[in-house]
Amino acid sequence: MPRLLPAAVACLLMLASARAGAELVVIANPASGIDRLTRDEAINIFMGRYKKLPSGIAALPVDEGVEKADFYRALVGKELPEIQSYWARLVFSGQGSPPRVMDDARQVIETVANNKGAIGYVDRKNVTSRVRIILALPP
């Protein structure tokens, strides 16, 4: 037990630091044909400008409910309401729709792993080998 307490404390501290300094990474299917993505490319895909990945596969961006705000803040420096208002305009014109929203990181990884054109984002520590990191977004 005396050895357990410091470990628990350390675990809590880690959790806290991970929460605060969580690094989001953009992930893609390993078969998507892309190894890296520039930030601008990521923006164009997530904001609906590009319908395809640089490799020519139809792009399928997905959002993740928990990390969504942090992600857009890190990617385009905008808050969620602004992003929602942006999509609202496009919905109105019928020209596009926002990325589908996944419940958690596991579902994101599942979707990306199962679709060649899918790209999403998760906390770096949740990344599995089924997906490939193509862009890191430091906090």
Partner: protein, 536 residues
Amino acid sequence: MINPLRTSIAVRSVTVLLLIVGVVGLTFFGLSYRLAEQQEEDEEHTRLVELLDTVERTASVACFLSDKALADEVARGLMMNRTVKAVAITAGGKLLAHRGDSIDALPERDRAPGFMLVRAIKSPFSPAETVGEVVLVPNAAEIRRKVVDAAWLTGRLLLLQIIFTGFGVVLIVVTFITRPIAAVSARLHEMRPEIGQKIEVPRGNRSDEIGQLVHDVNSLVDYLVNILKEERDLHTQLGIEERKFRAIFEHAHTGIFLLDASGQLVSFNGACGRFFRFPDAAAGDVALPAFVDLVDQHWKGAPALIARAVAEGSAVDQDVKVPARPGIAARWLNVVLTPVEDGRLQGVVNDITELKRSEEAALALAATDPLTGLPNRLGFDRRLEKMIDDCHADARQRFTLLMVDLDWFKQINDNHGHQAGDLVLVCTARALEKAVRKTDFVARVGGDEFVLLLGATHERAAIEAVIRKVIAGAGQPISISPGISATIGASVGAAVFEGGAMTGAQLLRDADEAMYKAKAAGRNGFRFARPAGCVR
């Protein structure tokens, strides 16, 4: 035709004011129109820029996504604005949306860089990246219409201002200037300054310029009325003086008259008219005849006296006898003529009849023998002198002098006294007068000496006839007291004046000598001084 510009201050003021306001207003209107145009363009530009700002975000999204529907939405939204003529949205060189006129077909003016708006559209997510552009062409005609509308409003306001200003000026001029002046003028018309009337100051103008004007006019009227009054008083005074002098002139007993340089009678008084017996018609002042013609019948010497007065340049005078007329006695006048200024002659006429009469009486008295009433030696001398003068004037004239000496007179004086002698002398005198013609002259030149002058008689026979009558007359018995009568005789010496160098004294001496010769030859006889009719 009455020109209201000349006759009405209000019309003139309004005209001038409207001209000024009109010119200034039009100038300002023009300026403001230009300004408004510029301002409107600027404002419109700003509005359009703001409009672009408004749609920029959406446009940005549209360009970012090359979303034609969204871009068209933006373009339609912009076109809702009437001042927008055309909109084109391009992204990456491709036309996303176009509304309104074709931009390439627009005139150069509309596409001028300062007029047409070109907005580069940035990416919504990276401000450094330009994703497209919006071109917006403003509607110049619409802008101008707005300017014209605004200008019309300004113009209407200006017109309204001009009208109200005009009315205001008319009101002001009429109320504050024209009406008070008209009122003053009307009062001035009705005013009778001579009874002390004054112009009333219009109410409300007491202390302003009109009040001052009225005050000044009143002062002037006062001044003039006073001058008039003084003038009138002076005139009245002069009239009184004139009448006074006129009265003195008219009622003077001295005749006064004035002749002009041509001898016309300028004026005369009543006394003058009476003296010269001017006809009544001459009393009128019109067309007075020449003075010399008026007095011609009484005074032949008038032209000569006038000429003398003019020639000598000083006062001259003459005694004039105005002969008697039926019912009017003869009168003597003393006329004094004095040259006065301008070649005029002033005449003063005095009645000297009484003076002349007493003078003549005195002269007659001095030349008269008080006892017999015959002329005395003095009277005889004068008569003789005059007759000799007449003979000298007319060489054919002759006359005869008879010297009569009474005979036996001394005895009567001695015997019967001086009273008897005097009676004899008086009777003899009457007898001698009877013996000659009325025109002949009888005088008593000594105690018992008489002289007779027979005018125009020189023939011996005629003289002798007279002498005989004289001797016969003197020889008549005279009753010297009751029951006593005396008879005297007369010795006569005759001498005829033949003219030439003979003097009166010589004639008298001749007659005297002849008389003594007759006396020496016996009483009641006569002798001629020299044979009558015999010219030596």
